[in-house]
Subunit: 323 residues, 2 copies
């Protein structure tokens, strides 16, 4: 059976919460549950949360497959979590464990990949050739090329947050210098805010930071919304780096569209205006090749869950499980 | 018929010469001819040269297809030349013209694409997931992903010479700032040599330049081979930029290998040592993901011709011509 009525459970393992939902191929969400992610937890703890969510979401429903999106490096198609930024598990055969315990076919992929897949297939404007960038604490990338998620031969590709845009720039969490994530993420926003507050302790950012208890990305956003020139300059620099990275990726891939998700895009034009300006400024041969539009994501925090469920349904069609 | 015995004519339209050869699927070259490229020539002149080469190479042989590699932006699969750096033609239906005039099925693609295809399929070590970079006057890129040339939906992708590696860096011929081509090409080598000669008119580079009549990439190479520290520093900077670009592309694509062709790679370790060092230094999570080897190309100036012929034979298998 392969119809729009088929249902999957999509799971999204994030740094603070695990979201699970029952979804169909159109992106409709029939039920949704959440659980907090215990900090630095390992495979046994996370597996028991995932299985509990699946059991509760499955009750009274005919579920065809399970899909998982998870932050980290996931080997594809095996669905093995090699490494995760926020969790203690390493080299965990999460797909096999889910299939064994649930009796359902399962897929496991990187969280930005499945969120990008949801945006490409089910976003306001569907795209077959799209770059999805999540700008949150870090930067995640999902590439959809010719209608399919691009992962590289074993799932190690599309680590777009770690392309180098500023080789002499600040150190990234990964140890490199000048990664896109080091200069254009929510963490970079916080760092630039702290630097600005230290440089001008009487400035708007420092003042708001004191009232909030610490200078964070939120502090810079509040200051920018009050037209503080220092905060606006930080957003311009952040957005400019992101736009430069997007310009390179458009030159490499010939993109139809760029979609930006993640927490920082909720600042709207504060981020998007400089991103669009730099993506155009650094575009290669824009008269001949065009410049892809840069738009905010259709789905918010549900993108990963919906994309994971959609991917599970599509994958089940292609390769029937042995169960 | 689809056998190793099938022959194609491969043509490579370069800035100074047009090379044509009769090749088979194994890369064997049965005959070869060359003609100079008349400077800034248009479609009529180039077409007559191509047709003359085809007629002479075809004599007494059963030719199955014609393939062309050409510098510039080529629409795929239509084989329409949209723009070329060294020739006056624009928006030229070169594939249709060749098919009409020769009665043979034809393919036309970017020169670095077909050269990379030859390296991936027929190089000393074949690869299914490979980056090919030509470092000549400019920088050309050919990407082979999952065994096939990656071009983007219409052939506009893989313009790797124009990814941005140094956003505040020198102006590129394309008008942008800090393209890989602006800092890591043969032209960049010449520019850095001229700058060094101007800064130190008594230095080795300036002296060799005067004896050669001008400071070129060749001047810097000669000085470096004499262990001139300024020239060695120029090669280190050039190679470092190329290595940074390669590191980003490895992070994006999960590459098995990186192959470098073009005139500048003939300097050997002068270029390759700093390239390899920077590609490793800027690699993302090298312990988990590995670092692809960087090796010089197997084929020299014949790569484009061989790759164009190979592509023509493979394409003919898939989509029989109506002729």
């Amino acid at each position: 059976m392969s119809t729009d009525a088929q249902l999957a459970i999509g799971l999204d393992i994030g740094g603070t919460k695990i979201a699970g939902g029952v979804v169909d191929r159109t992106g409709r969400v029939y039920a949704e549950l959440q659980a907090p992610t215990p900090p630095r937890s390992g495979a046994i703890v996370i597996a028991s949360i995932l299985l509990d969510l699946v059991a509760r979401l499955r009750e009274g429903r005919d579920i065809a497959a399970v899909g998982v999106g998870a932050a980290g490096i996931v080997r594809w198609p095996e669905g093995r979590m090699l490494w995760a930024p926020n969790n203690a598990y390493r080299d965990w055969d999460i797909r096999d464990e889910l299939e064994r315990e649930t009796g359902l076919p399962a897929v496991v992929d990187n969280d930005a990949n499945v969120a990008g897949f949801a945006e490409a297939r089910l976003g306001t404007i569907p795209h077959r050739q799209m770059l999805f960038v999540t700008v949150g604490t870090g930067i995640g990338g999902g590439l959809v090329l010719d209608g399919e998620i691009y992962r590289g031969p074993t799932g190690m590709g599309a680590e777009l947050g770690h392309m180098i845009v500023d080789p002499l720039g600040p150190r990234c969490g990964c140890g490199n210098h000048g990664c896109l994530e080091a200069v254009a993420s929510g963490s970079a926003l916080s760092r630039m805010g702290r630097e600005a507050a230290a440089a001008d302790p009487d400035g708007v950012i420092a003042r708001i930071g004191r009232s909030e208890g610490a200078v964070t990305g939120h502090t810079v956003t509040t200051a920018a919304q009050q037209d503080d020139p220092t905060a606006l300059d930080i957003f311009n620099r952040l957005g400019r780096w992101l736009g430069i990275g997007i310009a390179s990726l458009a030159t490499i891939f010939e993109l139809e569209a760029v979609v930006i998700g993640g927490g920082v895009v909720r600042t709207g034009d504060l981020l998007l205006t400089p991103v669009r300006a730099a993506a155009r400024e650094y575009a290669y041969a824009p008269e001949a090749r065009g410049v892809p539009p840069v738009t905010p994501a259709t789905f918010g925090s549900e993108a990963g869950m919906i994309g994971a469920g959609l991917l599970a349904l599509e994958h089940t069609d292609r390769k029937p499980s042995s169960t």
